[in-house]
């Protein structure tokens, strides 16, 4: 792996403006030496474009609205040839958590520990880096 810090794109999918949780996660990731790009409230299209343009290693989504947008974003990323992993947090019902996890998305509802979030981010970014190397 290179010494460059892994890059994570963080975004909010809804127009709900809650910033407390998402900034706490961003702070924890920065303290763990990730480079964090904070996109704020963005549409699915904008998130996909930023993820592809910035060639990030991981996409983090804060959900404040309904969750179908997550699968839309993942599908569009894959359609554009990106394998970037996705993790989500925020307002998530237990059923939604199960659904997203069953399609391989890491889910962190309220009450999740930052240590766990950082550990998962690390693992997902390493995975991402390996995939990139394989592709080269």
């Amino acid at each position: 792996m290179s010494d460059e810090p892994a890059r994570i794109l963080m975004a909010k999918t809804s127009l709900d403006g809650h910033w407390r949780g998402v900034t706490i996660v961003e702070r924890a990731l920065r303290e763990a030496h990730f480079e964090v790009i904070a996109l704020g409230m963005a549409t699915a299209e904008e998130i996909v474009r930023a993820a592809v343009d910035e060639e990030v290693d991981l996409v983090g989504l804060n959900l404040g609205g309904r969750s179908a947008v997550v699968e839309r974003i993942v599908a569009e990323l894959r359609a554009q040839g990106s394998d970037v992993p996705v993790m989500v947090g925020g307002v998530i019902t237990p059923q939604t958590k199960k659904r997203l996890e069953s399609s391989g998305i890491a889910v962190f509802p309220p009450g999740s520990s930052l240590e766990d979030i950082v550990a998962t981010a690390r693992r997902l970014c390493e995975h991402s880096a390996e995939m990139k190397q394989e592709a080269q």
Binding site: S14, V22, A106
Partner: protein, 564 residues
């Protein structure tokens, strides 16, 4: 539900669930309140400053009101049971409000859609279309006064106190005007109409920041317009209700919450003094209905409510020379901390809601909303809503809590905390003044940084195990997992609103609507109070998005001081 499965890995392997079980403290327990006031093992008369004793010789209902707003408190004025409610289509919101009123709610609170109401967008705006499944998730979609008619149909607004929606500052003028228009059409004398639209700076510019909205200086002008208009024409309406709750649940601690509340009020009252023909004494009653948070620091929260009343009385007396004692009385709505409600083991939240509600009652609240046990999962289900009402009814009727006003008055601990909070809160107030005043601290991001520091501290304490959260960082086992599915609301709110919008545009007198919007724009560009032209525009059936277009053209967009 089995609690949070921590560290569940991508391939579905169980992670290190329960690792935080019995999380050990990193430091020896520090006995302080949650805002950091040191706590002794016991309290005595020497812990209460003399000047504070003097203050609390005044009984409840007398200045400085530390001991209560009214002499007999709940004997003569039961607190109002008042829960946030609303989602989906106007009909959905109406049904939920009726449900709550039938179950014993004694006021009602309208929640409007974040995308359309808060942002002043019509449903066909690209930002909304891109998020169409979110429309109506946390509040009803209200496009015009017609939709207000639908929500309020069959609800007795002449005698029920309402929060009319319009918590967000740029939305408030429209929301208030719609509600008043429905009342006027029903033949209700507006001079007797009671309620509020809130119009809260803490929500709008600190807590939940819109993507697009008018800058705070222009928002301030809206609120001053509302205060003037209501003082003249709707004396029973609370024109703006400062929601310190929103600042607290964003991260301000107890004395910061109080200091920010007073600084916010000072900004409004200074504004009135500078620009208006009205006296501060005339508007004081209208501005003196606020909200505060109770959370999970029982005695500090009780003390906070007592300190708030005393500070308010002093602010109006010393800073504004208000001589009428009644005009210096603060009325408090309490919202229990949503952030204290956990995702795991959600039934535990019923105990938390009860404790926080009890603190509100012992602190002398005039109205109360208890957050639902499903708060961390979705907006409240009918059952969670009903439980919030039931908790309040149990507090009101079963535990003999209401016979005596200020039952903790004279407690050495509570009096000591009240005095200390007040002192620290005035210091925070002064700090804000030195930063240029409340609005300046929003423009610069100073207040956001304070809130952010408080929120981080709270997170770190749970993460370290310095603070135990049952079911979260300790006692995660749940022998009989109780599944709370969460309330999903309706999914047709966007589609149906698109149909309503098309019909409205077709049917209404479009020239009248356009001309009303031009007049409103003219008022916005001048110093004319916008509420008159806003009422005319509402009558001409303009839409929420058209109002937004006017505001965006005239005032532009706020340059948000924080990145997230």
């Amino acid at each position: 539900m089995s609690g949070i499965e921590e560290g569940t890995s991508l391939d579905g392997e169980p992670g290190n669930a329960g690792r935080r079980e019995g999380a050990s403290r990193t430091t020896a327990p520090a006995y302080t309140t949650s805002s950091g006031i040191p706590l002794s093992a016991h309290y005595g008369p020497g812990d209460v400053p003399d000047d504070h004793w003097l203050k609390v010789t005044a009984p409840p209902g007398q200045a400085p009101f530390t001991r209560g707003a009214y002499p007999e408190m709940y004997r003569s004025k039961p607190w109002r049971i008042f829960q946030l409610s609303g989602f989906g289509n106007p009909e959905d919101e109406r049904e939920r409000i009726r449900f709550l009123l039938e179950h014993g709610e004694t006021g009602f609170l309208m929640e409007h859609d974040r995308m359309t109401a808060d942002h002043l967008y019509d449903v066909d705006h690209p930002e909304v279309v891109a998020r169409r499944d979110d429309v109506g998730l946390t509040g009803a979609v209200i496009l015009s006064v017609d939709d207000y008619e639908t929500v309020l149909d069959g609800i007795d607004i002449a005698s029920t106190y309402a929060h009319a929606g319009g918590a967000v500052v740029q939305h408030a003028p429209f929301a208030n005007a719609c509600y008043w228009t429905v009342a006027r059409r029903r033949g209700i004398d507006l001079r007797r109409l009671a309620g509020t639209g809130q119009s809260d700076f803490n929500l709008t510019y600190l807590g939940c920041i819109n993507k697009v909205q008018v800058p705070p200086r222009d928002g301030l002008r809206f609120n001053l317009d509302l205060i003037e208009h209501c003082t003249r024409y709707l004396p029973k309406w609370v024109p703006v209700s400062i929601a310190a709750y929103n600042a607290a649940d964003t991260g301000l601690n107890a004395f910061e919450e109080l200091g920010a509340l007073m600084a916010n009020a000072a900004e409004y009252l200074d504004g009135i003094r500078q620009r208006s023909k009205l006296e501060v004494a005339d508007v004081a009653h209208g501005v003196g209905g606020v909200n505060l948070r109770t959370s999970m620091d029982f005695f500090e929260d009780i003390a906070k409510l007592r300190a708030a009343r005393s500070m308010w009385e002093r602010l109006l007396r010393e800073r504004y020379g208000v001589t009428d004692e009644r005009a210096r009385r603060l009325r408090i709505h309490v919202v229990t901390a949503g952030s204290a409600m956990t995702y795991s083991q959600p039934l535990n939240n019923i105990a938390r809601g009860t404790l926080m509600g009890l603190a509100a009652v012992l602190g002398g609240a005039q109205s109360l909303g208890v957050s639902g046990y499903d708060e961390a999962i979705t907006i409240p289900s009918e059952h969670a809503h009903q439980m919030s009402v039931r908790i309040q009814q149990i507090l009101a009727h079963e535990a003999n809590l209401t016979a005596v006003a200020d039952p903790l008055g004279g407690s050495w601990l509570v009096e000591s905390l009240t005095a200390q909070l007040e002192e620290r809160a005035w210091e925070f107030f002064e700090l804000i003044q030195r930063e240029g005043g409340y609005v300046a601290t929003l423009d610069s991001g100073w207040l956001h940084q304070r809130a952010s520091a408080g929120a981080s501290l709270a997170m770190d304490q749970v993460e370290n195990g310095d603070r135990i959260l049952v079911g979260v960082n300790a006692y995660q086992d749940d022998v009989s997992p109780f599944e709370v599915e969460g309330f999903e609301g309706t999914t047709d709110a966007w589609d149906r609103a698109m149909t309503r919008l098309a019909a409205l545009r077709r049917e209404r007198d479009s020239r009248a609507a356009a001309s009303a919007l031009r007049t409103l724009e003219g008022a916005c560009r001048s110093e004319v109070n916008i509420m008159g032209p806003m009422l005319d525009a509402v009558e001409a059936r303009v839409t929420v998005g058209e109002i937004g277009d006017v505001f965006r053209t005239v005032f532009g967009n706020w340059d948000v001081p924080i990145v997230f």
